[in-house]
């Protein structure tokens, strides 16, 4: 599974993307955030406040309860600030 990080999630984790193989009990976006947060201090800082993190599953925006299913790509980013 490919993980993408944008904005301060990229800054805190120190990486723009990585490939991970989460264990089978990681079933939802929220599970994935909790599990990624255990991968190191940068990741822990990035996911310290999950309410501030938005996600997209295979490029579709989704909420934390969304099942991962057979997703190939999950992106994490802060609330957007365009315009």
């Amino acid at each position: 599974m490919q993980i993408l990080y944008f904005a301060w999630l990229r800054q805190r984790t120190g990486i723009a993307e990585e490939t991970v193989v989460p264990p089978p009990e990681v079933a939802t976006i929220a599970d994935l955030m909790a599990w990624l947060g255990t991968r190191g201090p940068g990741h822990a800082a990035a996911f310290a406040d999950p309410a501030q993190v938005r996600a997209a599953l295979d490029q579709d925006f989704c909420g934390p309860a969304t099942p991962l299913g057979s997703a190939r790509e999950v992106a994490f980013f802060p609330p957007v600030t365009g315009g």
Partner: protein, 151 residues
């Protein structure tokens, strides 16, 4: 009506885009437009706009198509820049053309509200003293967008 959507690093030419929407037509009664610019608030020296290549473009195209179904437009152009902006730089351009003013003005308001809250951009401000901060999303912007989904 096929909206024009571009996400680009380069500056845009609002006059040329407006002329392009109107060229060769005599059924347009109203062209409304909006330009968003980088302000120098609090000693801001620059603002880096990060986007998600491919996905940001498609998200804006979806919003533009939605506007075209909500409002009777003859044309619509959205150009959003990414990369480093300096105070005074133009960041975003939205133009909507229609037979009548109400549709053109409402479409521009709708598109700006949605761009603010739904288009994947993230702004990092840098200041004269060397400090940096990520711009936080504004509850006001979410409320503005919610206007279009009520009723």
């Amino acid at each position: 009506m096929r909206p024009t959507v571009r996400v680009q690093a380069e500056a845009f030419d609002a006059a040329a885009e407006t002329a392009h929407l109107a060229a060769g037509r005599a059924d347009i009664g109203a062209i409304a437009s909006f330009i968003g610019l980088c302000r120098a608030d609090d000693g801001l020296a620059g603002m880096e706009l990060e986007h998600w290549p491919g996905v940001t473009d498609r998200a804006i195209a979806t919003i533009a198509d939605d506007a075209a179904t909500r409002f009777p437009l003859t044309g619509c152009t959205i150009i959003h820049r990414h990369g480093m902006m300096r105070p005074g730089d133009a960041i975003v351009l939205v133009i909507a053309a229609s037979a009548h003013r109400a549709a053109a003005l409402a479409a521009v308001g709708f598109l700006m509200d949605w761009l603010k809250t739904r288009a994947p951009f993230w702004k990092r401000e840098s200041f004269a003293d060397g400090s940096e901060r990520w711009v936080e999303a504004k509850p006001d912007d979410d409320a503005a967008t919610a206007r279009w989904t009520r009723g």
